[in-house]
Structures are given as structure tokens and as C-alpha cells.
């Protein structure tokens, strides 16, 4: 398995380098925004990747509530943590892009605010995981994940009622939408690279979780064994 992971890591490295080249050199410069628009190739793929990870977290949590197995819970931890990282990237690259283009760092627009709330929900999920004690952690976290995921459409509806400054969906957004094919290529290349990279770190985090639990179980077993031996000697 170690070889497969190394191979996978090399593939993701190659893809990331290729995507970097496509974003910085391959894609044409945007007419009005100039080079600053290239942050788009990191902003949007990170957003999509984090949404997918949160969705997997939701599915794994539901699965855990039904089956109560270790694997789905470990997947839920890994996807939530990596999803929060990608969501953080979105929240940092967004203002960096907004400042030169809109003239402001932040605005309480629908998609910005929804992303922020999503980030808050999953950070609270990770905090709960950290503070919950004993074997209840997994169940409580899975329950909270279900709440969090169901909350997202309501958040979006609530915030959409405010005015929206964020551009309408550029891709598949109806009449007049659409981007240069080379831009599209750079975007998709980056998304693919980000997804592969996210898959890699999620898998490593998942393995770490499984191994941590095995070690904990082994410690518990030894402690019991020692106690039994000690009790027997008395």
C-alpha cells in the first residue's frame, strides 16, 4: 500500500504542477481584471472541492448512524478536516481577489456569507469532536453533521434575500455566460489537481485516524492486562 500512496502522491504533484502552469501561463489574461483574475483558478476549485468533501462527510455521518462502523466515522473526520482547510483557502483567496476588483475586502453577499457560515458550522463540528468524551464522540458528531448539512440550504435562502454582489454563475449561468476555452481548461485542470490532492491528504488523514484508534485500543488492552497481572500477584 505504501508504494501505491507514493505513486498517487507523485501523480498529484505532477497534476498540481501542470495545473499551476495552465493557470499562470496557459490561460489568457482577463480583459478587465488583468492578472489578478488568475486567483480564480484556485478560488473556485477549492470551493468545489470543499463542498464535495462536506457532502462526503454528510453521507459518511448518515452511514455511521445506520451501521456504526469505524470506517465511516474515520472518513467523516478526515473529510471534515480537509474540507475546512479548503474552505479556509476559499475564504482567504476571496478577499484577496475582491479587494482589487470590487474595491472592498468583504461584503455580506449570499455566497460569501453562506461559505463563511458553512465554515463556522464545520469548525463547530471539529470543536465538538475535540471536546466530546469517550465513545459518544462519534455519534454526537454524526448527529451534528446531519444538522449542519440540512442547515446549508436554509442559510443560502436566508442570505439570498439580501442583495448579492458576487457574480452570477459564469459557467452554465444562462445567456451571456461562458468563458474562454483555455480558461475553462485551466480551471478544470486545477480542479482535477485539487481533487486528487484532496483525495491524497484525506486518505492520509483517514489512515492516521484508523492507526490512532488501533494504538488506543492496544493501549487499553495492555492496561487491562497489566492490571489483571498486578491484581493476580496480590
Amino acid at each position: 500500500m505504501k508504494k501505491a500512496v507514493i505513486f498517487y502522491a507523485i501523480v498529484s504533484l505532477v497534476l498540481l504542477s501542470y495545473a499551476l502552469h495552465a493557470a499562470l501561463v496557459g490561460a489568457p489574461t482577463e480583459q478587465t481584471m488583468g492578472d489578478v483574475q488568475r486567483i480564480f483558478y484556485y478560488h473556485v476549485p477549492s470551493a468545489w472541492t470543499s463542498m464535495i468533501l462536506f457532502f462526503i462527510n454528510f453521507c459518511a455521518s448518515i452511514w455511521f448512524l445506520i451501521k456504526r462502523d469505524v470506517i465511516s466515522d474515520a472518513i467523516a473526520v478526515a473529510t471534515a478536516e480537509v474540507g475546512v482547510v479548503f474552505c479556509t483557502v476559499v475564504l482567504i483567496t476571496g478577499p484577496l481577489w475582491a479587494r482589487p476588483v470590487w474595491g472592498i475586502w468583504w461584503t455580506w453577499d449570499a455566497r460569501l456569507t453562506s461559505t463563511l457560515v458553512l465554515w463556522l458550522i464545520y469548525v463547530s463540528y471539529l470543536i465538538l469532536r475535540k471536546y466530546a468524551t469517550g465513545g459518544q464522540t462519534q455519534v454526537l458528531a454524526a448527529v451534528l453533521a446531519v444538522f449542519g448539512f440540512l442547515d446549508v440550504p436554509l442559510v443560502y435562502m436566508a442570505i439570498r434575500w439580501f442583495r448579492t454582489q458576487h457574480p452570477q454563475p459564469v459557467i452554465g449561468g444562462g445567456e451571456g455566460s461562458g468563458i474562454d476555452p483555455r480558461m475553462m481548461h485551466a480551471l478544470l485542470a486545477n480542479w482535477l489537481a485539487f481533487m486528487v490532492f484532496a483525495g491524497l491528504i484525506t486518505f492520509l488523514r483517514y489512515r492516521l485516524e484508523i492507526v490512532t484508534r488501533e494504538v488506543d485500543a492496544e493501549h487499553a488492552k495492555r492496561a487491562l492486562h497489566d492490571e489483571a497481572a498486578f491484581g493476580g500477584a496480590q
Binding site: L128, Y131, A132, L140, V143, L144, F147, D151, L154, V155
Partner: protein, 240 residues
Amino acid sequence: MSAVPMTSATPVKTSTPSLWAVTRSTLSRDFRLEWRSKDAINSMLFFALLVVVIFSFSFDPTAEESRSIAGGLIWVSFLFAAVVALNQTWARELRNQVLDGYRVSPAPANAMFLAKSIGNFVFVMVLECLMTPLFIVFYNLRSIGPVWQLLLVAVLATWALVVNGTFFAAISIRTRSREIMLPLILFPISIPAIIAMVDATTVILTGSDTPRFWMELLAVYDLVFTTVCLSLFDTVLNAE
């Protein structure tokens, strides 16, 4: 010697108590406890009073301004005050092993949850009724829109806060640093409800628009999360 012969024993009824019966008896017990101690209502009331006074020092609005910010002030103070009471919801039950008793009893778990939610709902509604005159006096409030709509918003909004609050309080008592945990998990999930209740109140007070959309959103929120809470409470109660 005094043992009753088996043959003469009356047959034990094995039917599980109905949801409504358990809810009612738990609720009446909680009301009686609260009536005698007044723990929840007193702490909430004093806390809300402090928040109102501190807000009025922080902002010094004219009557016109206060109308447009009052929605936020009112609900933020109710939210903070409600957390004070919600944190106490399960503490007594945990201390007296009532939750363990529930786990082994055939009584439906949701009865406990419903009783606690309805109890908290009534306490927070009482708090709101007592605090509203204070808001009117301190902020010189007069609604331009119809006042009866505010009542409807209050009912929907309070249930939205309380149903998830009661549920998350049951989660947070199982963590380290219990009291801090509740707002940390409750506030992010409650954001859409908070937006809706604040805007509905502001819209009614300023008479600028109809609060219909916000009320519908609150109703949907209530419906969705009441359903989820009822379907998952058993899982949380039995979490091991």
C-alpha cells in the same frame, strides 16, 4: 411470611406509556420545579436585563434609529438569555441519573425531549413577555407595522431557538466544558433562523415591507429541525 402468593397477584400491565402521557407528566413536574425554584426564569430575566442595559450604553439611538436596530437588539438579548436556561435543561436530570432511568425504561425518548422543549419554550416566552415593556421604555419603541404579526414571529422564532437549543444542550452535557460548548454548536446552526427573526421584527417595526418571506423561512426552519430532532433524539440519548 408476608409475601404475597403468586397466584393472587394482579397481572402486571406491560403496555408502554403513551408519548403524550409521559410528556405531560414530565412537563408538569418541570413546571412545578420551576414554579418553586424560579431558577431558569430569574437567571434569564436578570441576564437579559443586563444585556439590554449594556446595549443601551453601547448605542444611543434616537426613536427612529432604534426602530431599525431594535430587531437585532431584542433577539440577541433573548438568544443569550435563552442559552442560560438551555444550559440548565439537562443538568438536573444528569445529576439525578434520570437520563439513565429513561434509557432503561420503556417510555418513548421523544416524550422527554418534547417535554423539555415545550418547557423551555414557555420559559423563554414568559421572559419575552416580561422584557418587551422594558424594550419599549428603554428604546422608546413604537411599531409602525401591525403588532399582532410580532406575536406570530415571536412564537415561530422562540420555537426555532428552543427546539435546537434543547437538543444541542443534550449533546453538550456529554462534553468537557459543557456550558461553553452549547453556544459554540448552537449559534452556527441557528444563523438562518436569527437572520429571519431579526429581519421579520425590523420589517414589522419600521413598517417598510411585509415579513411574509421571513415568517415562511422560520416556519420551514421549525418544521425541518423539529423533525430532525425528534428522529435523532433517541440516538443521542443512547449514545455510548
